[in-house]
C-alpha cells in the first residue's frame, strides 16, 4: 500500500474578537474566532478551544464557512473571571491532518479586561429651596452595572466641609419602575447659613460576591432664609373659569403644584418674584409679584391649541 503523501501548510491565521472591551467581574462576554489557511484550505469543521492561562478549556466550537469566504465560530458566550485586571486567554486550533494536508497547532493569545462593577448613583427629590438649619430629606438610588442586588448596602452623605452628615442603607426592593435601582431615603439638616452648597453622596466599594467599585454623586443644595410669608396662587382656566389641578407654580426658587381647587400655597422669603404658572395644555402665565406680606394671586391660563397636523 502506497504511503500517503502529506504536505504541511504554514500556520493558520487566527483572529479573536472579544466584546465588550471591558467586562464586569463575573459578567458575560462573547468571544468570536475567525481563522484562515494561507493556502486557502477548507477549515470547516475544525475545532477551536478557548483556554485560560492555566490551560483550562473554557469553551469549544467548530469553524464554519462564513459568507465572505473566511471561517469562523459563532459568538461564544463566556463568563469573565471575578478577579479585576487583564487576563490572557488563548484560542487554540489543534493540529490536524486532512486530505493529505497537515496543519500544525495554532494558538492565539488575547486579553480579557475585567473591571469591578460600577456603581451609578442618582439623587432626586431634593427640595428646590431649603431653609437654613431646616431638616430635609431626599432619595438616593444606586445601580450596579451588572444589576447586582444592593439591598443593605451603606451610603453616606458628606457635606461641603468634608464632614459626614448622614448615613443610610439601601432598601431590599428596587425603586418602582426600575429593574435594579436600589434606593434609600436620607434625612439631613441644612447648613445654618444661606447659600449654595455642594455635598456628596458616596457609596464605598466592596469585594463581597463580586468586586464593586465605589460610587459618588454630587448634591446641590440651595439654602435660603426662613420664609416670611405665604403666597397663595389660584390657577384658573380663563375660558370656563374652572380651577386647574396640577398646575406648576414657580416663584424661583420656590415651587409647588396646585391642588383639586387649583390652589397652591408657597412659603417664601419677602422680596420681588416672577410668578410663573404653567399647566399641561395651557399657555403659561407670568407676572411680577412683590411679597411684603401674605399674598393671594390669581392666574388665568388660556388653553393652548392642540397640536394638530394640518390635514383636516
Amino acid at each position: 500500500m502506497a504511503a500517503k503523501a502529506v504536505s504541511t501548510h504554514g500556520e493558520r491565521t487566527c483572529a479573536v474578537e472579544v466584546a465588550p472591551g471591558e467586562v464586569d467581574a463575573g459578567g458575560e462576554l462573547t468571544v468570536t474566532v475567525r481563522a484562515a489557511c494561507p493556502q486557502g484550505c477548507d477549515l470547516a469543521g475544525q475545532g477551536v478551544s478557548i483556554q485560560d492561562r492555566d490551560d483550562t478549556e473554557l469553551a469549544r466550537a467548530e469553524l464554519a464557512a462564513l459568507e465572505d469566504g473566511a471561517y469562523g465560530t459563532s459568538a461564544l458566550v463566556l463568563r469573565a473571571p471575578l478577579q479585576v485586571g487583564e487576563h490572557v486567554w488563548r484560542a487554540v486550533l489543534a493540529a490536524q491532518e486532512k486530505d493529505g494536508v497537515r496543519h500544525e497547532q495554532t494558538a492565539t493569545e488575547f486579553p480579557v479586561v475585567v473591571r469591578a462593577h460600577a456603581a451609578s448613583v442618582t439623587v432626586w427629590g431634593l427640595p428646590s429651596a431649603i431653609a437654613a438649619g431646616e431638616r430635609f430629606s431626599f432619595k438616593v438610588g444606586i445601580r450596579c452595572s451588572a444589576g447586582c442586588k444592593l439591598g443593605g448596602r451603606a451610603l453616606s452623605v458628606i457635606d461641603h466641609a468634608g464632614a459626614q452628615v448622614a448615613v443610610a442603607s439601601l432598601h431590599d426592593d428596587v425603586w418602582p419602575g426600575t429593574n435594579a435601582l436600589y434606593f434609600a431615603e436620607v434625612q439631613a439638616q441644612a447648613p445654618r447659613t444661606t447659600g449654595e452648597f455642594t455635598w456628596q453622596v458616596t457609596s464605598p466599594g466592596s469585594d463581597e460576591g463580586a468586586p464593586h467599585a465605589a460610587g459618588a454623586c454630587p448634591v446641590a443644595l440651595k439654602v435660603v432664609a426662613p420664609p416670611d410669608h405665604d403666597v397663595t396662587v389660584e390657577a384658573i382656566d380663563s375660558a370656563n373659569q374652572t380651577p386647574i389641578k396640577g398646575a406648576h407654580v414657580l416663584l424661583h426658587p420656590y415651587r409647588a403644584l396646585t391642588d383639586e381647587r387649583g390652589v397652591a400655597k408657597v412659603k417664601v422669603a419677602k422680596g420681588r418674584y416672577t410668578l410663573v404658572v404653567s399647566g399641561f395644555n395651557y399657555i403659561g402665565y407670568e407676572s411680577i409679584l412683590d411679597v411684603t406680606r401674605d399674598v393671594t394671586a390669581r392666574a388665568e391660563l388660556a388653553v393652548e391649541p392642540e397640536e394638530e397636523v394640518d390635514i383636516r
Binding site: 432626586w124 406648576h248 407670568e286 393652548e304 390635514i311 383636516r312
Partner: protein
C-alpha cells in the same frame, strides 16, 4: 346565537346585482388582455426603455397591453376617487390602480374638513338655516352674510396677495391664477357632486387654512352612528367607526383621534366625522357605478407615444402587495367588489382617453424632497401616514414619471414655505407614525406599532429635546411654534384691526420679513452635529428626554398601544441616564449612543437650580432626576407636498414649454401651483380631471 357583524361590506354585497349590470356594460370597454402566456410584455418593456426616440416610438406601438380602459387613474385617494366617479358618470370606463391594499389614500384617515365655497350648496343651506336632507342639524354656526359667496369672490380670496400669516408665509400670493380660477369655478359643483355620491356635511364652521379669508367655507363630512353601516343612509356602525376612547380604530375608519371638536358643536348631534365619511361613500359610489380597482399595484412608468411628444397612452405597473408582518398573509381591501385581483409582477395598462396622476406627493422620496430643501436628506424624517398607506406612499413616483415624459414642475417653493409641507418636530412621542396616530383595529397599526403619546406644546416644559449625540439644540417650550392661521375669520397681525382684502397693510413688514423662518427649532435640529457623517452628514433623530416625575405630573400614558410592545426602538426606559444613552441605539436611524446625555442633563439640572436657562431661554425648567428615565423619539415629520406637476385649469399636465401633454392629467399633491392645502384642493382637482379626461377623444 352570535349576531352577525353588519358592516358596509354587507351592503356592498346587496348592491352587487346593480353593479353586475354595470360590469356587463363594461365588458367590452375593460378587457384583460392576457399576453403573459406569450411572454411578449417583458420584451416590449426593454424597447420602452430605449433612449432612442424612434425605438421608443416603435416600442410604444408594439406594447401588448394586459388591460385597457378609457381612463386609467393612478391612486385611489382624494383626487383619484373623485376623478373616477366623475369620469364614470360621464360614460368612461375607469380603472383605478393603487400601490396600497385598500382604497382611500390619505383621505380615509383625514379629518374630512372640506373647504370649498363660491356659493356652494352647503354655504347656501346654512345661509338659509335649512336642513333639506333631514340630517337633524342645529342652527347655522356662521352668520348668513359670512356665507354669501360666489366664484369671483372665492377666486379673489384665493389669489389675495395681501395676506401674510402669523409665520410670515403669504399663503395666497403664490397661487397660480389660471389654476385657481378654475378651482373657484368648480368648487360649488364639486360640493354638489360629493353630496350626490352619499357624502353628508355638518354645518359650516370656518374655512380651512388656504381656503380664503373673507367667507366661511368648510364643513366636516360626517356619518351618523347607527346599528349598521349603510352608505346610502349615511350611517356607520360602532364597529366600523371604531372607538378612540376605547383605544380602537377600525379598518373602515382608520382615523386618528382629533380631540377638541365634538360632533354636536358642528351642528350635527349624533353624527361622527372624519375623512372616512368622504372616502368610504365615494369608494362605495365608485364601485356601485362600475369603477374597477386594481390594488397592490404601483405605477412605475408612464408610456407616451414618443419620449417627449405624442399622447400618453398607458402605464407600466408592478405588483406591490402588503403582507401581515406576523402571518405573511396578504392584506385585503375593506370592500372587494369591483377589484381586479391581478398578481402578475409587471403589467401594461392602456388608457384609451387619459391617464390621471393622483399618486400624492413626494414626501417619501429623499432625492425629490431635496429638490426644495437639501436638509431633507435626513433619513429619520417621516412623511405622513406611511403606516397607513405603505412604504411606497408619497414616493413621488407620479411626479417623477411625469418628468420622464417631459412634464414641468410648479410651486416647489411651497414645499419649503408651508407649515405642513416643511419639516416640524412632533409632540406626539414614541412612534414613527405621528400623523396617522392609529390605535389597534386598523391594519395600519401593524406597521405603526405604536400610537404615540401627545405631550402637547406645554408638555415640552417637562422634557428636553436632544440630538443624536445627546445635546440640546433649542428652547423646547417653543419647539412647536409653527402655527399658521390664514383663514376665516380674518384678522391681522395686530397692526390693523380689520382685514381688508387686497390691502397690503394687512401684514406688517415684520411678518413679511419673518418669511422663510418658519421653524427655527427644525433648523437647529437638522444642523450638522458631532455625529453627522459623510456623505450626507445626517443630523439624526431627535429625542425627548424626561423622567418619572414628568410622567407623573403630565399623566402621560406610556403603555401599549401608545408605545410599542415588543419595543420598536422609538421609546426607551432605563434605570440610569448612562444606560438610557446606550439604549437608543435600538432606533433604526440612531447610529451612536447619546454620548453627551449625562453631561447635558447635569447642566440642565444645574440651570434648573438657578432658575434660568442660560443656553436657550426656556422659561421654566424642571430637573430631570427621578428614575426611571425615558427617551422617546420626537419624530421630525413632513406631512404634505405642495410642489409638483404643473397643471392648467383643466388639470392637464403641462410640459416645459407650457404645452399640454395630451392624455395626461393630475391634481392634488402630485401637482403644484399654489399653497392651497387639504381636501378642498384635491376634491376639486379630481372633479376637474375626471370631467376633462372623460371627454378626451378615444385613441
Amino acid at each position: 346565537m352570535a349576531r352577525k357583524r353588519d358592516t358596509g361590506r354587507d351592503q356592498s354585497k346587496r348592491q352587487n346585482g346593480k353593479r353586475q349590470d354595470n360590469e356587463r356594460q363594461d365588458e367590452k370597454a375593460l378587457n384583460r388582455r392576457d399576453f403573459f402566456r406569450g411572454g411578449a410584455a417583458a420584451g416590449v418593456g426593454a424597447a420602452v426603455l430605449s433612449t432612442s426616440a424612434m425605438a421608443q416610438d416603435a416600442g410604444a406601438q408594439r406594447i401588448q397591453w394586459n388591460y385597457e380602459a378609457d381612463v386609467v387613474i393612478l391612486g385611489s385617494g382624494c383626487v383619484g376617487l373623485h376623478a373616477a366617479v366623475r369620469a364614470r358618470d360621464l360614460g368612461a370606463s375607469v380603472l383605478v390602480i393603487d400601490q396600497n391594499f385598500d382604497v382611500g389614500g390619505k383621505l380615509v384617515h383625514s379629518g374630512g374638513w372640506t373647504s370649498l365655497g363660491g356659493g356652494d350648496p352647503i354655504q347656501e343651506r346654512d345661509r338659509m338655516g335649512t336642513d333639506p336632507q333631514g340630517l337633524g342639524l342645529k342652527a347655522s354656526l356662521i352668520k348668513p352674510e359670512d356665507l354669501e359667496d360666489d366664484p369671483d369672490r372665492l377666486f379673489r380670496d384665493m389669489t389675495d396677495w395681501s395676506v401674510v400669516d402669523a409665520t410670515g408665509v403669504a399663503r395666497y400670493r403664490y397661487n397660480d391664477r389660471d389654476l385657481h380660477r378654475a378651482w373657484a369655478d368648480n368648487a360649488p359643483k364639486t360640493r354638489q357632486f360629493m353630496m350626490d355620491n352619499y357624502v353628508r356635511f355638518a354645518r359650516i364652521d370656518g374655512t380651512h387654512q388656504g381656503g380664503g379669508m373673507s367667507r366661511a367655507r368648510a364643513a366636516r363630512a360626517m356619518m351618523k352612528l347607527a346599528d349598521k353601516t349603510d352608505i346610502k343612509a349615511g350611517t356607520v356602525s360602532p364597529q366600523d367607526r371604531g372607538d378612540p376612547q376605547g383605544e380602537r380604530h377600525s379598518h373602515f375608519a382608520p382615523m386618528r383621534q382629533v380631540p377638541g371638536v365634538a360632533a354636536d358643536s358642528l351642528g350635527a348631534p349624533g353624527w361622527v366625522w372624519g375623512g372616512f365619511s368622504i372616502a368610504r361613500p365615494m369608494e362605495f359610489s365608485a364601485r356601485e357605478k362600475g369603477v374597477r380597482f386594481m390594488l397592490n399595484r404601483h405605477m412605475d412608468e408612464l408610456i407616451r407615444e414618443r419620449p417627449f411628444s405624442g399622447r400618453v397612452i398607458g402605464v407600466k405597473a408592478r405588483y406591490t402587495p402588503r403582507t401581515h408582518p406576523e402571518t405573511g398573509a396578504r392584506l385585503e381591501s375593506f370592500w372587494q367588489n369591483g377589484n381586479i385581483d391581478e398578481r402578475a409582477e409587471t403589467i401594461y395598462i392602456r388608457a384609451r382617453k387619459a391617464v390621471i396622476i393622483a399618486t400624492g406627493g413626494m414626501q417619501g422620496s429623499i432625492p425629490m424632497r431635496m429638490m426644495t430643501d437639501p436638509r431633507m436628506c435626513e433619513p429619520s424624517i417621516e412623511y405622513g401616514p406611511s403606516a397607513l398607506i405603505g412604504p411606497l406612499n408619497m414616493d413621488g413616483s407620479g411626479i417623477m414619471a411625469g418628468m420622464k415624459v417631459g412634464a414641468c414642475l410648479a410651486g416647489m417653493m411651497q414645499n419649503y414655505q408651508h407649515s405642513s409641507g416643511s419639516p416640524t418636530i412632533s409632540s406626539v412621542l414614541g412612534t414613527r407614525d405621528t400623523v396617522g396616530s392609529n390605535f389597534p383595529g386598523t391594519p395600519a397599526f401593524l406597521f405603526a406599532r405604536a400610537k404615540g403619546f401627545n405631550i402637547g406644546n406645554a408638555g415640552w416644559e417637562h422634557a428636553i429635546a436632544v440630538n443624536q449625540v445627546g445635546q440640546r439644540f433649542y428652547n423646547e417650550r417653543a419647539i412647536n411654534n409653527v402655527s399658521s392661521d390664514a383663514k376665516y375669520p380674518p384678522g391681522t397681525d395686530g397692526t390693523r384691526k380689520e382685514f381688508v382684502p387686497l390691502d397690503w397693510r394687512n401684514a406688517s413688514p415684520q411678518q413679511v420679513n419673518a418669511q422663510n423662518r418658519r421653524s427655527a427649532a427644525v433648523d437647529a435640529a437638522l444642523a450638522i452635529n458631532e455625529g453627522s457623517r459623510a456623505p450626507d452628514f445626517a443630523s439624526g433623530p431627535v429625542w425627548a428626554i424626561f423622567d418619572a416625575a414628568a410622567v407623573a405630573r403630565g399623566g402621560w400614558t406610556i403603555r401599549y398601544p401608545y408605545i410599542a410592545d415588543p419595543p420598536d426602538g422609538y421609546f426607551h426606559k432605563a434605570d440610569t441616564l448612562a444606560e438610557l444613552a446606550k439604549k437608543v441605539m435600538g432606533h433604526p436611524h440612531q447610529k451612536m449612543p447619546l454620548k453627551h446625555l449625562e453631561k447635558t442633563i447635569a447642566r440642565y439640572n444645574e440651570m434648573a437650580g438657578k432658575g434660568k436657562d442660560e443656553d436657550f431661554d426656556k422659561p421654566v425648567l424642571h430637573k430631570i432626576e427621578t428614575p426611571p428615565f425615558y427617551a422617546a423619539a420626537a419624530t421630525i415629520r413632513v406631512n404634505d407636498s405642495y410642489g409638483g406637476l404643473r397643471i392648467n385649469g383643466k388639470a392637464q399636465v403641462l410640459d416645459t414649454q407650457g404645452q399640454v401633454i395630451p392624455g395626461l392629467y393630475s391634481g392634488g399633491e402630485a401637482s403644484g401651483g399654489g399653497a392651497q392645502h387639504g381636501i378642498g384642493r384635491a376634491t376639486v382637482h379630481g372633479y376637474i380631471a375626471g370631467t376633462h379626461a372623460a371627454q378626451e377623444p378615444s385613441a
